[in-house]
Amino acid sequence: MERKKGMIQNWFGRKNGRGSAKSVNYMSAKEIRQISRENRRITDELERMRNRENVPESEYVTAMKDPGNILEIEDLNTWFFTDIGTVKAVDGVSFSVPRGKTVGVVGESGCGKSVTALSIMQLVQRPQGQVVKGELRFRTDDLTIDLVKIPTDKMQKIRGNEISMIFQEPMTSLNPVFKVGMQIDEVIALHNEGMKREEVKARTIEMIKLVGIANAEGVYDMYPHELSGGMRQRAMIAMALGCTPKLIIADEPTTALDVTIQAQIMDLLRQLKDRINSSIMLITHDLGVIAEMADYVVVMYAGRIVEQGTAAEVFHHPAHPYTVGLMASRPSRIRNTEQLYSIPGSVPNPIDMPNYCYFRDRCNRAYEACNGDYPPTFSISGTHSAACYHYSAVNEVGK
């Protein structure tokens, strides 16, 4: 009961677990000014680095650690400098996407899944949001580049071309005043200079057909409002596939859709991935979708990876108590229980993270070791690892 009370206070940032931190909700104007001045100093510095002209190639060309990967994320840190403090939305995330495979990233809202994707695309809202540390190695045709350091003009050649993204809301991510066909044309024309207009149109229609829209010529001349949700999401996918990307980032592609349409879209993504031989990074909070689509699973909690492994490992032998809790809290046909397991409490305040394991206060397996620092990642098998002291008996993989 005592612990519970502490947690409730924590939700509102009134009182911190450590008891010393400042109140987040009630800050004086002076404090806010001070923080924002400090933030401006940091972000100006980072922006200056980013806006330099003629950055030498040597700064952003690197080498892959494993040539079988298409994307390697190492120690990614994306922070948001807000007036009430720094939010470490992504805090030391490392995983890789192998060629031709699907990696599922799962976690609750606010855990940093989408920010990880936006960091890869260099679409984080600057200047408040900054990738402050880490490497994002991406393999293009001839060289490996670091997506963190690459200058914006070079990134524009990759974004939409080699890496493309499917967003959650098909309603808001299509422009309502342009015809669907024109919006897909634009992507193809931009990345294929010298392509004739007829060729671009032919390619667009081919793409619309590829995503399973029967009336491709008709849809080419339609506005987004004339299409249903599922059709719009198909149009978004057609746009993403327009330049045969090597990596598709699908950020909750089916969350806004009905189950029957979701089944259609998942089926489509699976077929297309094999046909154009690309990799998919699938972001979702739905464990069912992950289980059907993903080869590898990454579980995130409060900006960090708590567990990763192959789909079979994570679903059959979930290691981290958070993963176990997440799975138990979904009603399931197989174990029909009267009472659902629910993880008590909620995620700690992102501005004022505790210095121990972020999950400790909600964990049903917490013990003495959990009072120490945030746990490093412990390996369970070659591909399976978890950030939890319960696995410290097995060897450590470094932070």
Partner: protein, 349 residues
């Protein structure tokens, strides 16, 4: 209006009322229709109707939960609102505890209101940002004079405790709460009036998985404690399966199948129900479900197909489906289906 009235009478003569699942029902919905007029032109001439709910009949037993599932736009929410008379119906009847809700005058309806409540989908937009939580929960209680003024504070505290809120939350404003906490406030607000029946309109779909579990457990606990009856509207089939006793499946304004939970999930009869259930993703990488993928999407409710509304997407479509509207028929004790594949309790197609 006159057309509606006539239609209502014709319907009543033509069909006997829907098969009721049990005698002890708290709520009886018979041939319910809710049409929304489509008007256009200079004088807003009525061109046609969107048949949001078209001839739906079911009943809910006291103390049980009926789950209502279907794709977006199939009329689930409209049914919920019409039952509470937040939307006027176009035909049929809704009987709550033997009282025909749509026949009541304003005063009588107002007196009945506390006994039937609703919990909305989005806890972010259904709470007034300008009212402290204690006032949100207590406003209607004070208005209805349900408790004596001196007991008011204790009563609200008790309700809040039941819903997992603390007493000191009373003076806070909704923006200070997380999504799950806000949904608890919505539940407390509904519960404070001591209702018998609550329409839960997608109460968990805006919440995270772990918070969903907390809210579902809370709803079940409250049902056990107060003997509540729920109409649980959701598009999440796993949640519906967990919480419901009976399940109704809707498609384009029609109830296509209505049965006991076990019966419908183990043995879905309607082709749409089969497709819907097979589309649920299973959180196990080894389970490869044989999925029935429906072609196309849901037709426009303003211009639904002739005959069985599902025939355009149905893989078992027969000639009769294109002309004749299938009627609800009993298949065993607790199972009803509206499909031409079945006749006299047997499958014929």
């Amino acid at each position: 209006m006159s057309e509606d009235k006539r239609m209502k009478e014709v319907r009543f003569e033509k069909r006997s009322s829907g098969v009721s699942l049990s005698e002890a029902s708290l709520l009886e919905v018979k041939n319910l229709k809710t049409y929304f007029p489509i008007s256009s032109g200079l004088f807003s001439k009525v061109k046609g109707y969107v048949k949001a709910v078209d001839d739906v009949s079911f009943s809910i037993r006291r103390g049980t939960t009926m789950g209502l599932v279907g794709e977006s736009g199939c009329g689930k929410t409209t049914i919920g609102k019409t039952i509470l008379r937040l939307t006027e119906m176009s035909g049929g009847s809704v009987t709550f505890n033997g009282i025909d809700i749509h026949a009541l005058d304003r005063r009588a309806l107002r007196a009945l209101r506390p006994r039937m409540q609703i919990i909305f989908q989005d806890p972010y937009s259904s709470l007034s940002p300008r009212m402290p939580v204690g006032e949100i929960i207590g406003e209607a209680v004070r208005e209805k004079r349900l408790v004596a003024p001196e007991d008011f504070d204790d009563y609200i505290t008790g309700i809040m405790k039941d819903c997992g809120l603390q007493e000191y939350h009373k003076d806070r404003y909704p923006h200070e709460f997380s999504g799950g906490q806000r949904q608890r406030i919505c539940i407390a607000r509904a519960l404070a009036l001591n209702p018998e029946f609550i329409v839960c309109d997608e109460p968990v779909s805006a919440l995270d998985v772990s918070i969903q579990a907390q809210i579902i457990n809370l709803l079940k606990a409250l049902q056990a404690k107060y003997g509540l009856t729920y109409l649980f509207i959701s598009h999440d089939l796993s949640v519906v399966e967990h919480i419901s006793d009976t399940v109704g499946v809707m498609y384009l304004g029609n109830l296509v199948e209505y049965a006991d939970k076990a019966s419908i999930f183990d043995n879905p009869l309607h082709p749409y129900t089969m497709a819907l259930f097979s589309a649920i993703p299973v959180p196990d990488p080894d389970v490869k479900t044989k999925r029935i993928i429906l072609e196309g999407s849901i037709p426009s409710p303003a211009n639904p197909p002739e005959g069985c509304k599902f025939h355009t997407r149905c893989s078992y479509c027969m000639d009769v489906c294109k002309v004749e509207v299938p009627q609800m028929q009993a298949m065993g004790a607790d199972h009803q289906v509206a499909c031409h594949l079945y006749k006299d309790g047997r499958r014929i197609g």
